[in-house]
Amino acid sequence: MFYREAGDFKVSYQQDSQTFPIKFDRYRYYAVMAFAFLVVPFVINDYWANAILLPFLIYSIAAIGLNILVGYCGQVSLGTGGFMAVGAYACYKLMTAFPDVSMIIHVLLAGGVTAVVCVGFGLPSLRIKGFYLAVATLAAQFFLVWLFNRVPWFYNYSASGQISAPERDVFGVIITGANATATATYLFCLVFLVLCALIARNLTRGTIGRTWMAIRDMDIAAEIIGVNPLKAKLTAFAVSGFFIGISGALFFAIYLGAVEVGEVFGINKSFLVLFMVIIGGLGSIFGSFAGAAFLVLLPVVLKVVGVDILGWPTDIVAHLQLVIVGALIIVFLIMEPHGLAQLWRVAKEKLRLWPFPH
């Protein structure tokens, strides 16, 4: 077989702490990257980009961001929708105020602005935890959506109250507005996803990741060992906010093009991303991808199977989706709180011994 751990010796601690310690995993990762960058852009069409790939890429960034906060640092947040809105509106204000500056910088700055806002709303976490913190972040969600609806400065006093992305290009290639090609938007989002995933992985395997997990697992012991809880929690909020802000900016500028804040970044969005993290796996980067892929693909697959093949009415299929997601959340919370990522780990562990488990 190709997939073997035996004989894959590490001779240095660097080799032991790399992202993919097993050779096969490493080659598979290179293959996936090559496929994503060199094959997909040439075969992509508008349907694939808009129905599956763009939402998957953007939700993956959001899920990684939320996973850092909830899965790694143990601070529950229901404000994801609101924080994505911060990223979207920051990006919009920057795009319209500085039309000549590159979109790459705007998206990164939108992430930075969201990080600052997120830290602000993360301050209560120093005093309260769990359920009460969830309610505090819920307040952030409603407050932010209300703010962007009520203060005309945020949507540049437009009559509709919406924000819509003007046409912008990166290195001469149009990436926003109606004239952007599927290839360009896909690659733009992919670059950000890869960057975010690498940063998340680097942070979580090192010192900062360990302080986050220490706070998550036992905050009192962590403090007595030397973890500064203020610093650990607020860096988690900042990094999480940075990723969520980037995803909000991309969601608005690249994917939708025009946004009405209450509709797009409402409480439903917070729950959707939280479900991705729970189903995918708390405390796992791979889980963030798996959860995002699952919840993006589920409606598409249901529609293809239910409406196109079985010929059921559309509304029944749409409701069926809610039923399935709800049931899955309950099943995962009870049976496997660490989600798809843990199922994958367990499967690998069993296969390692198969067919002689003893």
């Binding site: 601690y13 660097q14 942070l203 010192t207 360990r210 998550r216 403090e223 060992i225 809880p229 405390g283």
Partner: protein, 272 residues
Amino acid sequence: MLDASEGYTTEDGRKIGGVVMEMKNITLRFGGVVAIKDISFDIREGEIRAIIGPNGAGKSSMLNVISGFYVPQEGEVFFHGKKRPQMRPYEVARQGIARTFQNIALFEGMSVLDNVMTGRLNYMKTGLFQQALWKGKAEQEETENREAVEKIIDFLEIQHIRKTPVARLPYGLKKRVELARALAAEPKLLLLDEPMAGMNVEEKEDMSRFILDVNDEFGTTIALIEHDMGVVMDLSDRVVVMDYGKKIGDGTPDEVRSNQAVIDAYLGVSHD
């Protein structure tokens, strides 16, 4: 009683240095309950200092005062001759005081290696951006600290469970991992809160050996709480005895054993 400020020599010939930590007239109250009442004692460099007493005597509270988790209402704590200002527990940890807990307080979701690496926090200096890049400073720092951690893993003989999640380990090993995490900080003063609670004789012997080895090889000053009198009398150089928040005895194991107040506290006294 010992009064030489320059230290002393133990029966087995180890040299004990000057005072590392001195508690002066510590009083700790929780509302109306007085947990610790006007207690003074010192811990000297290189010694194994035991704190014993019946249940509820205030031993763990005393340890919590030393590690900065409780702030006493009265009294002063001197560390290396300097009065310690009021500080948060993580600041105390940075001064070189590490501890283990009575009920194991490991990070259950992390591997043994990650748990022990967390103990090295004081030596991690790279910032957020360097760690996000990983290559360069952060990786170098990780590797250097990993080497130090591997020495301790080696020392405590837990190599085989290095990558195992802590939640899967049996009790005895968890206690050992917790000791490893505390040792990883290379503490000047190591506090052990009932390191042998709930262990069988064999595990107790192992743990006693590790404690003596730590003291011997790294020269670490150790303060420990323990209920097993045999262990305490064998391990420790000096013993503080507490009862109902008061200090009722202080001295070498032999002195304490013959102290009438201590005998009364442990065996009871007739009221006729």
